[in-house]
């Protein structure tokens, strides 16, 4: 591997070409490379010399820059809703809703759930709601009303 660089170490030696001798030594902290340098400053003898430098390993490098996730479109058929708070996505499960009463109002509310896939509805900007139970003393009547409504 060959490349160009500026100053290398504390010796203040400039060079025009550096040959990395491909002797990278991977230890947990990084890679140590042996570099063959040729001085380039005027007045310096052009005698190649060898030095080393250490590159931090990717794992030991500084934490990568934070990137905002790209906006995602919610598709309830494929995955749960992703709620965005200041752009940070988080997988959340639907809130489980129980309806007490299956009369005129209750049956219509239940219909809203039952007409949706997986009995889930998603309010704008909020978590999904999933119907898990309907309580009514008259089970048969409630079932008939809910079926009629749906």
């Amino acid at each position: 591997m060959r490349g160009l660089a500026g100053r290398l170490d504390g010796r203040g030696v400039g060079f025009v070409a550096a040959s990395v001798m491909a002797s990278s030594l991977a230890d947990g902290r990084g890679q140590t490379e042996r570099i063959l340098c040729v001085p380039a400053h005027r007045g310096q003898p052009r005698v190649p010399f060898e030095t080393t430098r250490t590159r931090p390993s990717p794992s030991a490098a500084a934490p990568s820059r934070f990137r905002w996730p790209s906006p995602t479109r919610h598709d309830p058929e494929k995955r749960p809703l992703r709620v965005g708070i200041l752009g940070v996505d988080a997988e959340v499960r639907p809130l489980r809703v129980a309806i007490l009463g299956a009369g005129t109002v209750g049956a219509e509310v239940a219909r809203g759930f039952l007409h949706s896939p997986n009995r889930q509805i998603g309010p704008a900007g909020g978590r999904m709601l999933e119907l898990v139970a309907i309580a009514d003393m008259n089970v048969e009547g409630a079932w008939t009303a809910a079926c009629r409504a749906s």
Binding site: L95, R96, V97, A98, I99, L100, G101, A102, G103, V105, G106, V109, L114, L129, L131, V132, A133, I134, A135, D136, M137, N138, V139, A142, W143, A146, C147, S150
Partner: protein, 111 residues
């Protein structure tokens, strides 16, 4: 519709572990009041469209909700779909109860 969704024991449903939110749509005073209290004390937020129970037991239910740290939310439509309950406590606090009860009795005849 799966039939096993419908169960007769409302108290058990209101306090079930796998329920996050209870929506009370029974109407009337009892057993709606008891069920709302049971759900709040079981740590479930409650949403109700029951104007009657709010008109008669609103203060008590609010106290239970505050004590249990759970939310008690309500809204209902009267007069052809006008949501009013959210505005009443702010605009006419002294007459909230009477207005709620009036809207409660007017709702069936208006729709």
């Amino acid at each position: 519709m799966p039939r096993e969704l419908i169960v007769p024991d409302a108290t058990a449903v209101a306090t079930r572990e796998d329920v996050d939110i209870v929506v009370e749509l029974l109407g009337g005073s009892e057993p709606a009041r008891s069920l709302i209290i049971a759900a709040l004390q079981a740590g479930k937020p409650v949403v109700t469209a029951n104007k009657h129970v709010l008109a008669h037991h609103g203060a008590e239910l609010e106290q239970v909700a505050r004590a249990s740290g759970m939310a008690l939310r309500y809204e209902a439509s009267v007069c052809g779909g006008t949501p009013v309950l959210d505005r009443l406590p702010e605009d006419w606090p002294p007459t909230t109860s009477g207005a709620c009860e009036a809207s409660s009795t007017a709702a069936p005849t208006s729709s």
